[in-house]
């Protein structure tokens, strides 16, 4: 019995640890459908700089049909502290979003997706990275702490 509980506890802890890296504010797997991948290109029409997640609204035109997607991002706090603000991504910017659609697919009022990978059409990132997140530590980033 004791060993069984230990195995359950360890398994649960490992599972939780493995799954929460990208979960952050919430369980993404509860919100998004792993069987509904998306790869969309569209024009930004609105950015909501709100907590706990910022949302980028993208207008996608395909086969004569226009669909508006709300793409979930992270917290605005981090970007603002990095000097990235509302002027960094503005309405009219074209972006490519690769990720997964929400489990609820009513698209009312808008379709919902997570922005697992958000780039400009030329492949560059929509939001610049920062040291500790892939960028080199060259001293130019004030967040490079002692």
């Amino acid at each position: 019995m004791k060993n069984t509980l230990k195995i359950i506890a360890i398994s649960f802890t490992l599972l939780l640890g493995a799954s929460t890296y990208i979960n952050a504010h919430h369980a993404f797997t509860a919100e998004f459908d792993p069987n509904a991948p998306i790869n969309i290109t569209g024009k930004v029409i609105k950015v909501e700089w709100i907590n706990p997640h910022a949302w980028v609204h993208v207008e996608v035109k395909e086969a004569g049909k226009t669909t508006v997607w709300m793409v979930e991002g992270g917290t605005p706090n981090t970007l603002i502290r990095n000097g990235i603000n509302k002027k960094t991504i503005t309405p009219g910017t074209v972006i490519v979003v690769r990720g997964y659609q929400s489990k609820g697919k009513l698209c009312l009022p808008r379709c919902i997706a997570n922005g697992r990978d958000v780039t400009f059409p030329d492949g560059s990132k929509v939001f610049m990275g920062s040291s500790g997140t892939g960028a080199p530590r060259d001293g130019s980033d004030p967040r490079e702490r002692r």
Binding site: F12, T20, E31, N35, P37, R116, T119
Partner: protein, 325 residues
């Protein structure tokens, strides 16, 4: 003594005096040591020591290795697809870009040395868990992530009540982002605003604990000054806050746990934060840790979590969509 020697000695004395000048703790207008400001505990150092480290103190080279591993992992998360490639059905849905995260940029240093864990005791850098208790509590946590009949069943973080893991504490531990705290003092009180998810710890100074049936989300904290150190004792932890899980740490804090924290400003831009957790229901031994709270740039952006919490509605809608299948 000739004139040249006199000038030389004077210069040496002045330089020596400047070097000897140490930072002194400033006081608030009401005389308490001043801890006020915006602070961050963002760091690549986690609560528990990774298995690839044997010691608490690690070398510069080992610290660089950690940074490189973090960067490589972040890069793989940040851009998982080749140009033109699409996500595959059945894969992990993932999260959002790493650019939205702020876990820290290095292992933190104390006394000029890199640390491999926040934990200082037990000496192996691992929590002395009682696995039977953890096993008994696991199902309750599983339900928080697996059931979505009502908002009340979801995790406290998703409900915008408290932050993830033990961000709000006590003990206050680093998480994936929003590792910022604002300390404000007034006569008889110290308030710590925890950025994630906009919780405020209100520490009453020279006060008794509230009755045991009162269990605030972040526990009942009272404090006192020991010299320039603020000593905070917390008990009566909220029963729904006992399992605090995030990527950086997973801890269990039972209602009867007693936690002591110590805040000592060691220099203008740093507070030494130390804690001790005594919880014999969940742990075989006391555990202790320490880390720096470093001065943060800028202020905390308002975390109006409830107002913008589309995710909760989407999670519930997702559960209803699953039911219709």
């Amino acid at each position: 003594m000739n004139k040249s020697l006199l000038i030389l000695f004077t210069v040496i004395a002045l330089v020596g005096g400047l070097n000897a000048e140490e930072w002194t703790q400033s006081k608030t207008w009401f005389g308490d040591p001043d801890l006020q400001g915006t602070w961050t505990n963002a760091s690549l150092t986690n609560l528990e020591r990774p298995d690839y480290y044997d010691t608490l103190i690690v070398s510069e080279e080992e610290a660089r290795t950690t940074l490189r591993m973090s960067e490589e992992f972040s890069e793989s998360v940040d851009n998982p697809y080749e140009e033109g490639e699409s996500p595959q059905a059945g894969d992990n849905v993932g999260g959002y870009n790493v650019a939205w995260m702020d876990p820290g940029t290095d292992l933190f240093k104390l006394d000029g040395e890199y640390r491999s864990s926040i934990l200082t005791y037990p000496e192996d850098g691992k929590l002395p868990r009682r696995y039977i208790r953890w096993g008994l509590e696991a199902y309750g946590m599983y339900r928080m992530f697996a059931v979505a009949d009502h908002p009340e069943e979801r995790s406290l973080g998703e409900r915008c009540l408290v932050g993830f893991g033990s961000s709000g504490g006590p003990p206050m531990l680093n998480v994936l982002y929003n590792n910022n705290y604002q300390i404000v003092q007034s006569p008889g009180y110290v308030m710590i605003l925890v950025e994630m998810n906009h919780d405020a710890r209100i520490i009453r100074l020279e006060s008794n604990h509230n009755p045991d049936n009162m269990k605030p989300w972040l526990g009942d904290s009272v404090g006192a000054w020991e010299g320039n150190t603020l000593v905070v004792r917390t008990k009566n932890h909220h029963p729904q806050q006992k399992f605090r899980a995030g990527i950086r740490h997973q801890i269990l804090v039972m209602e009867g746990a007693e936690i002591i924290e110590r805040f000592t400003r060691t220099e203008e831009n740093e507070i030494l934060y130390q804690f001790e957790v005594d919880d014999d229901k969940a742990y075989k031994d006391t555990w202790r840790g320490e880390m720096p709270l470093r001065a943060a740039d800028g202020e905390i952006y308002e975390y109006a979590c409830h107002e913008g919490n589309y995710a909760m509605a989407n999670i519930l809608a997702g559960a209803r969509a699953e039911e219709r299948k």
